[in-house]
């Protein structure tokens, strides 16, 4: 697996529910080395991995994370309170989660509406670098909506984070997967991607995505 060419970032996906396998699949198609882990023994998700994400390897979470350049956090939000922050220390972490009380129930930790859910995730995972993306596209659309670069139909995804290097690294992965990106320079600005916001669930090319973001900020940040 080693060679002279610069290698693509290795990706570890935490979560084998609705979202995790969908992201793992498109990342593999884009040429990344991908591991997938759930809580506990990788044997429990071996069949899911083999059938739904051929080419990925199921591992214990700690092993998957250790070797990864980017970790995708795709666990149910209500399990986050019990998640061990030490596991992700020093890592770039994509937060795909949404706080959505009518569907997931009220989570005390995320009730402080002055902050977006990813800001709260960042505060808890203080030693990790959080990037917010993938939360505003349906996991079921992730494969179908991919388009090659330059396609007029190519959809944009927002990528937000406080660390510009991490945002760029993640955005490059997303562009390789098959989406344009609109990069925002803070997790706070990433609140615009959340449920009820102007781009949540919306399939928009880059210019329209930017336009949707630009006409909304005052209302959703006030």
């Amino acid at each position: 697996m080693t060679g002279g060419a610069p290698r693509l970032p290795r990706i570890a996906v935490l979560g084998a529910g609705h979202v995790g396998p969908a992201i793992a699949r498109v990342a593999i198609a884009a040429g990344h080395h991908v591991t997938i882990a759930a809580s506990g023994d990788p044997e429990k998700i071996a069949l899911i991995t083999r059938v739904l994400v051929p080419g990925a390897e199921s591992q214990w979470a700690a092993d998957a994370v250790r070797d990864a350049d980017i970790v995708v956090l795709a666990i149910p939000l209500h399990k986050f309170a019990a998640f061990d922050p030490a596991l992700l220390a020093g890592k770039i972490v994509i937060d795909t989660m949404n706080y959505w009380p009518p569907t997931d129930g009220v989570q005390e930790m995320f009730e402080d509406r002055r902050y977006g859910s990813s800001e709260i995730v960042q505060r808890r995972l203080a030693r990790s670098t959080i990037v917010k993306t993938f939360n505003h596209i349906g996991y079921h659309e992730l494969e179908d909506e991919r388009r090659p670069e330059g396609s007029p139909e190519r959809r944009a995804l927002g990528v937000a984070g406080d660390d510009p290097g991490a945002v760029d690294l993640v955005a490059d992965v997303i562009e390789r997967i098959g989406y344009d990106t609109v990069r925002l320079d803070s997790l706070s600005a990433g609140r615009l991607f959340e449920p009820g916001g102007p781009v949540f669930g919306a399939s928009l090319p880059r210019t329209e995505f930017e336009l949707a973001l630009s006409v909304e900020p005052s209302s959703s940040r006030s």
């Binding site: 084998a16 396998p21 179908d144």
Partner: protein, 352 residues
């Protein structure tokens, strides 16, 4: 998908009991809506629909919380159509009581009862019955396990955290001829597919948005899980929303404004994206999840998707809040008299 499916083709209808409107566009009462559903179930039987399912909901716009009572009324006036839940929210119910209610329905209907277990996309039953949504996984795992034990018949011994334990408990009424069919409805969770296989439930794929073909790997996962566990093959079904009218244009025009209104309403509480006309047209096309059109259009789409998904059963979720009872009756009649025979013909032509 490996070997072709050997299970008989089943073509059914599901309703969530969406409130219907009168000719002046005013919502009918809950009571009238429920009486209309009884009429719809009876018509489904008369026009040759194989299965009629009712989903459990607990809201003002979906007032059908006691599906089994309505199914009992339909059972008393029909002889042929199979009757079941679509879905029963097992996590917030008592598996013993669910078994008793559907075993009773099975008795009334002469062995026509089925049950589809799942979460559904609404969660109103959790606070209503005092459950915490955060416990969903454990509730569903334990209760589906108990339900599988109950279905086997005979005294049940079971222990868990989510309800009282049972020791050599005889649960009545007994079924006459073995377990009635039970399914798990799956919306996109691979663990739910594995769970269905583990407990020996059939798999109902709820495809309500996006490309149906993305569910094909789930069918494969189900087959492989059954094989790994040493279980025999089990049927796979597909549940999707739609609307049938005389022409494509009429079906679209009747359905689209109601669909837009309902999803717009739901989007406020659940964060769904509000559909656009373009996204709607995509959903009713070959790569979308909705079956909206003339009998021929809908039949062709069903006949194309069932083999692609390794499925032998299709359930059209008809109705959308605001449509009239009359439009729904027409939908049911066209589905039974034209869609059902046409799907059979198309699949037969292809050697299924």
């Amino acid at each position: 998908m490996g070997e072709p499916t050997t299970f008989p083709l089943v073509l059914g209808l599901d309703t969530f009991g969406d409130v219907t409107y009168d000719d002046d566009n005013r919502p009918l009462s809950h009571a009238q809506t429920i009486r209309n559903i009884v009429e719809q179930g009876v018509l489904a039987d008369q026009v040759g629909v194989d299965f009629f399912g009712i989903g459990e909901h607990h809201t003002d716009d979906f007032p059908l919380s006691a599906s089994d009572v309505v199914l009992g009324a339909i059972a008393g006036r029909t002889t042929r159509v199979r009757l079941g839940s679509a879905v029963t929210v097992l996590s917030s119910d008592d598996p013993v009581r669910v078994f008793q209610r559907y075993s009773t329905l099975n008795a009334i209907s002469g062995g026509r009862a089925e049950v589809i277990l799942g979460r559904g996309s609404s969660i109103d039953s959790f606070p209503l019955f005092g459950y915490d949504l955060a416990d969903y996984e454990e509730l569903f795992e334990e209760k589906s396990h108990l339900f599988a034990e109950l279905l086997k018949g005979g005294p049940v011994t079971w222990q868990g955290k989510t309800r009282a334990s049972l020791s050599e408990q005889d649960v009545v009424p007994h079924t006459e001829s073995g377990p009635f069919p039970a399914w798990i409805g799956v919306g996109g969770s691979p663990q739910s597919v594995i769970r269905a296989a583990r407990h020996g439930f059939s798999l109902m794929l709820a495809i309500i948005g996006g490309s149906p073909s993305r569910f094909a790997p789930f069918s494969k996962l189900f087959h492989q899980a059954l094989e790994t566990l040493g279980h025999a093959a089990l049927p796979i079904g597909v549940h999707s929303p739609g609307h049938v009218a005389a022409t494509d244009e009429q079906a679209r025009e009747e359905f689209w404004p109601r669909y837009l209104e309902v999803i717009r309403h739901v989007s406020k509480t659940r964060g769904f994206a509000v559909p656009t006309k373009a996204s709607f047209l995509h959903e009713i096309g070959p790569h979308g999840a909705l079956y909206v059109g003339s009998p021929e259009t809908v039949a062709k789409k069903i006949a194309a998707n069932l083999p692609a998904l390794g499925a032998n059963r299709f359930e059209l979720k008809y109705g959308m809040g605001g449509l009239s009872h009359g439009a729904l009756m027409t939908n049911i009649e066209l589905y039974g008299t034209q869609v059902v025979p046409r799907v059979r013909e198309l699949l037969h032509e292809r050697g299924h």
